[in-house]
Amino acid sequence: MRHDHLLTANQLTRGDIELVLDRAAEVDANPASFGKRHAGKLLGLCFFEPSTRTKMSFEAAMKRLGGDVVDMGSVDSSSVKKGESLADTVRVVEGYADALVLRHPLMGAAKMASEFVDVPLVNAGDGAGHHPTQTLLDLYTIRENAGLDDLSIGIMGDLKYGRTVHSLATALTNFDASQHFVSPESLELPRSVRYDLHEAGATVREHTDLETVLPQLDVLYVTRIQRERFPDENEYHRIAGEYQIDAETLEDAKDDLTVMHPLPRVDEIAPEIDDTDHARYFEQAHNGVPVRMALLDLLLEGDS
């Protein structure tokens, strides 16, 4: 890849995305051939907020490449509690590792941290900002199931705070995809994402309900509406309830509609959908390992 760091989906060109996804497909086809690729290399995990899955998936990816991880540990026990700056922490951990993965509660944290280190740094989520490796595994799953061009995708739920949505929508502008955003008005896309989509000339439609647009969709990407966004519990239940799907909801959908979700889900997708051909969210989660293996392989390859 041309980049030393992966910070946001905005930096990814179509070529970059295809490079990672093609490499991920190679990994998927023959995982054993990647098993010693990065023996002796260490990946530094700096997680300033808990995220067991993302962390485990990076750890699994690095170990399956023959490498290992060094983990800063939980924030409670780290020097962060003692008031050390993020800039200092990453400069210290840089000395232990060949690449860094950063998860942080503040937006722009990865961008800032990347300016203090020389090893590749991967953003594993910065507040409501970006989560580009989630986007890569989302795109991988979409490509496997529906293809990335001539695609009609619905993205539903919390579009305002959902960083996976922001990254995915931006990355999709590289492809011939029409994007339909479905959300309550209070949770619609933030100004900065609209700006990027507009600048990229993306085909975008916004809806407050799924019904009208569902029949034309190839992919429906569902996200969780977070309870803590609502001061009033009743308001939360009223709104969240309108954005839940079950077998009945999907009656008007195409037979080959792919339903995705970045997980964890609460009750946005009824369990009865799990056994249908629409459900791809567990496959999507599993794709995290080969996609992160591919990404780390490319970043560490450029390094050596």
Binding site: S85, G108, M112
Partner: protein, 155 residues
């Protein structure tokens, strides 16, 4: 009223910079964005809401003993896009510039997003990309369009 009459509202300077055609009411923001607060000993004269042909009223800022750099002039474009910059030596205008929009401004504005990394105690200067109709934080992506002057960092 002739140009000379208008000039008289604010005394002439010997050497320095006259920033003219600043939008009415923005003069103090011009000084803020340039980091001029008098602590450097500069003599500063301000005319506010002076009648003007092109703008209904305008502000004028005169800084004695200091010639603005092109970088400083560019930053002014964010809040005073119509401004003209006159460099004065020996009471004569020797250079006249218009402001140009820079690609980015560093350390001038603070980010309105509370959850932005630039708003905590980290060794990093704010950096905003300049868009056609606003500025955008290069860290968190927040776009500011309205009232940019109110985001001038106060340090």
């Amino acid at each position: 009223m002739s140009d000379t009459d208008k000039q008289l509202r604010v005394s002439k300077i010997e050497n320095g910079t006259v920033i003219d055609h600043v939008r009415g009411g923005q003069a103090l923001n011009v000084l803020a964005i340039l980091g001029i607060d008098g602590s450097g000993g500069e003599q500063v004269a301000i005319g506010m809401n002076v009648p003007s042909g092109t703008l209904a009223t305008k502000d004028i800022v005169k800084v004695e003993g200091r010639e603005l750099s092109q970088d400083e002039v560019d930053v002014l474009s964010l809040i005073a896009p119509d401004a003209t910059i006159n460099i004065v030596r020996d009471y004569e205008v020797v250079e006249k510039h218009r402001v140009d929009r820079p690609e980015s401004v560093t350390g001038v504005l603070s980010c309105p997003n509370r959850n932005c990394i630039t708003n905590v105690d980290e060794p990093v200067e704010t950096r905003f990309a300049v868009l056609r109709d606003g500025v955008r934080c290069e860290f968190c992506g927040t776009i500011v369009r309205e009232d940019i002057a109110s985001h001038i960092a106060d340090d």
